[in-house]
């Protein structure tokens, strides 16, 4: 049995799952719109959370935050569940599928056999939608893949019960009620305000534009503090978080710029178009930072790719973003 489900490939798993699920229930909310309403844009350099023994750099809000905010803003009722018993988790999934309900699941990436080898890390914040089952095989709309993929029950169960940081514990979510044509004006405004607050007004200096400057200060000292080898590892991890984990490029800045264009038409205000353009340029700057970082990792650094040089690039990004979010905050009211 397979649910008729329109699968659209997305840049990021959570915004993609949100968009695809809503589309199934007749709401045409693109991925970037979901990302914007869900206030996905963020920055944090969190020295006390370690990923592969290296401090966490993040360009997006907390896991599940986008989906939660979108469903709350659009008044969608969601049923979410976690499980202790693996068998029960799988049989409940099957019974939902039998009722023709597509099921969102949080999983680990490591045990999903359809993932390219190079992406298979113990990363527990992946999201996908199960849309059917035949025999022992599940059909999955995994938003970061071009087409529907398949996975055995054994592997899916393992992925749903992956262990470690932020273990999914078999978490599923289904949409119970979706309003027909909700007004987007307030959700869009709310989403923008939340991002402005996170970027400008964070109470701790490791988040938002202050966080970017904090990272710049740390990064500058990595070679002397950690030694060259570790410094490059730290740097590589920042580049990976910025580009690799399904960001749509430039640490989600391009995706958010796409959202600002949509916001311009929803809010009927062309000022957002200009802000979108500025954010695109900021995204391009982030990309240059990644290029410099990668050159270092490959030991092909040029003069301006030095650690102080890269710290300077980060500070420029921070300054530009600070001004951008201030302007954004002023027009959104």
């Amino acid at each position: 049995m397979r649910i008729e489900f329109e699968h659209k490939q997305s840049a990021h798993c959570e915004s993609g799952v949100t968009s695809n699920l809503l589309y199934h229930y007749g709401l045409d909310i693109t991925e970037s719109m979901a990302f914007g309403i869900g206030a996905g844009l963020f920055f944090g350099y969190i020295p006390f959370i370690k990923l592969n023994k290296i401090p966490l750099t993040t360009f997006r809000c907390s896991v599940g935050g986008i989906f939660k905010r979108v469903s709350k803003s659009l008044k969608i009722s969601v049923k979410e569940k976690r499980f202790r018993n693996q068998q029960k988790a799988m049989s409940e999934l099957d019974s939902l599928l039998e009722q023709n309900i597509p099921v969102g699941c949080q999983t680990g990436a490591f045990w999903l056999p359809y993932f390219p080898e190079a992406f298979r890390f113990h990363f527990n914040m992946h999201n996908l939608i199960v849309v059917g089952k035949e025999g022992d095989t599940y059909f999955i709309s995994d938003p970061v893949f071009p087409d529907i993929v398949t996975c055995s029950a054994f592997n899916l169960c393992k992925a749903r019960f992956a262990k470690g940081t932020l273990a999914p514990k078999g978490r599923t979510y289904i949409l119970e009620h979706v309003p027909e044509s909700p007004d987007l004006v307030i959700p869009v405004r709310k989403g923008i305000k939340a991002v402005c607050n996170a970027m400008l007004k964070a109470p701790i200096p490791i988040i938002g534009v202050k966080g970017i400057r904090y990272l710049a200060g740390k990064l500058e000292k990595w070679p002397e503090k950690l030694g060259d080898e570790m410094a490059l590892l730290y740097l590589g991890q920042v580049v990976r978080m910025q580009e690799e984990i399904g960001t749509g490029g430039g640490g989600f800045r391009f995706m958010y710029a796409a959202f600002l264009q949509q916001a311009a038409s929803v809010l009927e205000d062309d000022n957002y178009l200009e802000l979108s353009e500025r954010l695109t340029q900021i995204g391009d700057k982030w990309r240059l930072f990644a290029v410099s970082g990668a050159r270092n990792c490959k030991k092909r650094a040029r003069k301006r790719d030095s650690f102080p040089g890269m710290a300077q690039m980060l500070r420029e990004c921070a300054d530009l973003e600070e001004q951008l979010f201030k302007d954004l905050r002023d027009i959104v009211v």
Binding site: S32, F121, G248
Partner: protein, 141 residues
Amino acid sequence: MKVKDVPQDKGMIGDHGTEVCYAVDDDGRYKIASSLGWEPKNIANEQAWDIINRDIADAIQGIRTGKLSPLAYHMTKNLMDEGLLANYSGFYRWRVKRHLRADVFNKLKPAFLKRYADIFEISIEELETVPDLEIKGDKNI
């Protein structure tokens, strides 16, 4: 980023298709563009795998000298550390740590070995063998 500048540098995605990028067209409108990959990303990804491969080589070295048990190899190969392996196996971390010692591992009950083998989806025989891996790449990365 312009649509025409969306990089198409094949690498980590390999033959698994394309990924989505956001880029602007000539009129400045955002479009979804597909990309085969981007060199800086490929490099950062390679760096991560170089480290893993080096850790695997180190584990094999440790096993050859008789200090570490084959479990160290399988743990590293599956990108785990003692903490994560403890989570998966249900053993306490300190016990996993002990099982990484060759002398302790050699005396483990089959039931214990089975528990580890199941996690890695291999047989007990496979759990007890370690391939002769050539140490690849630059050891001083």
